[in-house]
Symmetry: C2
Subunit: 512 residues, 2 copies
């Protein structure tokens, strides 16, 4: 197989998703040449790159362009059957009117229970379950980050090896804590994010806090309830050497206790799984996202908590989601989060169209409407039982919309605050993103990416496009892989290499 040219030997293939669609997307790696004829008789009038759209019929100017059975835009000029339907030919439709949405009018029936699936986790005193055994060291302000990095390096080299049951020491550095408008109404978002991350079940209730002393975010607000005082304030220490000594000493006490944790068999219903996509292409909505959606349904059937997110990628498909809200209240919460984000973007003189990246467009996603229709496929088919504002903790089992920006690290950080054990991340263009606190499972939308990034992609959903596997098969594969990773039996590639991106807080309030 050639990596850059069209594969001359392969049958030309396209994917049509819905009977109503008047465009299809090309499957073949490298794209398809002018004159290519499909088995149905459709003939390309020009070269079409892989994953890009082809008109199934002549479209007149102003005619609706339909994919996923939904209008993704209107033809800006006449478009001939067999020609490339590129971004420049499409007029983007207005987003769904939030005040006119049907709510809870098509609530899916509960899916059949799936019993007997378990994983090996660390049961905590508060009933939650961790899937890793990590010493978490959180911070109340970025000022301390240099000292903490120095101390963590020494803890890892000198102390951690004595406690083999502990996987890692993770410093929770962030840009918040001082130099911020901490009383602005929206400061609640970064504050609760930091607070809830400290409660993460992987830390086993043994999180410690390193603060400076004069910061606005008070360290004592980051301590889990009922904890003995696990706070080190650097301004109370006699210089740098003493700071490091104090941190190492407290860390050792906690490592000793964490080292006693043992894995026990837990029902799959104890899991909290986050879903995300990044570096999406036109295959995202055809292969990886539907497979993840199938896995999401399996998790919901097994009683687990599943969160999908990314407001700007849900906004244009929200009319497909509000009918699935389990009740009026949940539907209203979903609409509220969309409105809040509309206003947030408007304040910055932007709108939801700012979401799509050059990579998305190169990958065949013409606009945010098309991207959104593919993105929401991750949510599967169950009822939406709750909606979380950014950084809130998940408290219910079932499918939840956790409102977050779509940026990968921001979404990842907020899902961690919501209690996520693991993220399932679909990608078409490819991203090596990882998190220190929780495994990130990379699901590729295309065979070519899986081959190219052979040591970074965990699950290949590209086989769905080529007919080598069904959505259901890849869905089950993801489900089993989640249980294996949660049990420590398998390791994601990013954990294998130790590729861990920093936390990235969402702060819609001003800095000072």
């Amino acid at each position: 197989m050639s990596l850059n040219g069209t594969n001359e030997k392969e049958e030309p293939r396209y994917i049509k998703l819905n009977a109503k669609d008047n465009v299809v997307i090309t499957v073949n790696f490298g794209g398809l040449k002018e004159g290519t004829e499909f088995s149905c008789g459709l003939k390309l009038t020009e070269y079409v790159p892989q994953g890009h759209k082809v008109a199934l019929k002549d479209l007149v100017q102003g005619e609706a362009i339909v994919r996923y059975g939904e209008v993704i835009g209107y033809a800006l000029q006449p478009i001939k059957r067999g020609s490339w339907v590129k971004e420049s030919l499409i007029d983007m439709p207005a987003p769904p009117e939030l005040d006119l949405l049907p709510i809870a009018n098509n609530v899916p029936e509960p899916l059949p229970l799936l019993e007997g699936y378990t994983f090996e986790g660390y049961r905590n005193a508060d009933g939650s379950v961790g899937i890793k055994n990590i010493l978490g060291i959180t911070t109340s302000v970025q000022c301390v980050a240099g000292v903490l990095s120095y101390a963590v390096k020494r803890i890892k080299e000198e102390i951690l090896p004595k406690y083999p049951n502990v996987h890692d020491v993770v410093a929770l550095e962030h840009n918040y804590g001082c130099g911020v408008a901490i009383n602005a109404p929206e400061a609640i978002v970064p504050i609760r994010t930091i607070q809830n991350i400290a409660l993460h079940p992987n830390f086993g209730g043994e999180v410690m806090v390193v603060g400076l002393g004069c910061e606005k975010l008070r360290p004592e607000t980051l301590v889990p309830d009922g904890e003995e005082e696990p706070i080190i304030s650097l301004q109370d220490q006699q210089g740098f050497t003493n700071m490091v000594h104090t941190i190492l000493e407290m860390a050792e006490g906690r490592l000793r206790r964490l080292n006693e944790r043992k894995r026990v068999t837990c029902p799959a219903s104890d899991l909290v799984i986050g879903l995300q996509c990044g570096g999406s292409d036109a295959f995202s909505g055809v292969t990886a996202n539907p497979a993840v959606g199938y896995a999401a349904d399996l998790l919901v059937r097994a009683g687990a908590t599943v969160m999908f997110s990314e407001v700007t990628e849900v906004r244009d498909a929200v009319h497909l989601l509000t009918p699935r809200a389990v009740n009026e209240e949940v539907g209203r919460k979903l609409i509220h989060e969309m409105k809040w984000y509309d206003e947030y973007l408007q304040r910055g003189q932007s709108d939801r169209s700012a979401n799509t990246s050059p990579g998305n467009k190169k990958g065949g996603l013409s606009n945010i409407v098309e991207k959104s229709l593919g993105s929401v496929a991750k949510s599967g088919s169950s009822a939406i039982i709750d909606v979380l504002a950014p950084g809130e903790r998940a408290t219910k089992k079932g499918l939840i919309f956790a409102a977050t920006p779509a940026g990968d690290f921001v979404c990842g950080t907020l899902q961690l605050a919501s209690g996520m054990h693991m993220q399932v991340f679909t990608t078409g263009r490819g991203t090596p993103y990882g998190l220190a606190m929780a495994p990130v499972i990379k699901v590729s939308t295309r065979n070519a990416l899986t081959e190219q990034w052979h040591d970074l992609i965990d699950v290949n959903a590209g086989r769905i496009a080529t007919g080598e596997a069904t959505i259901e098969e890849v869905g089950w594969e993801i489900f089993h892989y989640i249980l294996d990773v949660a049990s420590g039996r398998k390791q994601t590639w990013t954990d294998h290499w130790g590729l861990h991106n920093s936390l990235c807080l969402f702060n819609p309030a001003p800095v000072t």
Copy 2:
């Protein structure tokens, strides 16, 4: 000397700054007890902590409270002579009206030239001078940060030791690049910050760029003009192992060239020095900031560029600055930056009073007006010859106001973008903050902090309060220390320990 109690043996002392002042601040460590009598006859009616204000006379309700010869607020109730003038007794005045400010009406005469001062720096092809020899690796998006960290660790371990004239390899990680509203009007701020940081003179024009491939911020916009293509796009690589190999290979070529750089004697006028304060207390405006202001004047006299910043700490003292603007245009630019920030804070339902931290208040700074009057002392006494919007590059010699938020890392990052070689940082409460790209000189406002943080404070300005040194003496000490650090003859404590905080971009635009 006891660390927590009042030192009984020391004479009680206070500092009065201006003949018009009707409050003074206490000097003694641990504060002063009720009944303490000063040599002038003033007697304390209650305990007053160190650095806090005492009324010199009976104040009636509504009377102006004067410090630095300026009104810092109005008495909310009658205040007796000798009593503690705490925050709760002070009504904060309105900020200076921006449309009514006098501009360039009191431009200081040029200070006498200071000739013959030099340092040993690295002269670059473009005429700029570096004070460190660093391989800079910048990024177009946070997605690549995990891979880059892994690669940089290997470069430092395996390759850097072969090139002993190179000090460090610095990965310029940040949260920008994708998942952001890149076409929002204010996106220009983070974008030019990243672009200008890549041009930093310490990198010797050899910066390389690691990008992903699908991000919104295009890697090619980060390449210095006229450079051969120094971009590695991870999506073009055959997996992780290959990514790391490619980065190591490009890094080695650049390290080889950087290793040829030699220090040469350069005039002090080649220096670009940033000024900042953080963790301020009531002594900041009495000891460290005036000493830094004196050093700023020396630098200006020697022909160097000196930047002061922190909009929210200048806002309430701006009426003291606009008269010093060298001309109408510079004065208008200063006012424009103040207005922009007022509106930015207002959009987030906040205002400049959000600046002060609990540590400031504990240290005796009742409000932002008092803090600002002390903060601007850093600017010395020369004319303000230019104003930069956040992240713009300094192009002139003399005293410049570089508009930035006051948060330490945000200000540090923006001053780096403006071309700062070194930052002089005054602190009263203490912060261990450092930057990998440029030394940060810590100037303590108090003897007690200098003793306590003996291995973090570089210069002790606390001696000014106790009469052990004059403002001029400490100013000269800072000036000479700058030349020593720039020449590599001395090392700051944060560089000694390797305490380096992450870059922290200022992004006033929305994320998506």
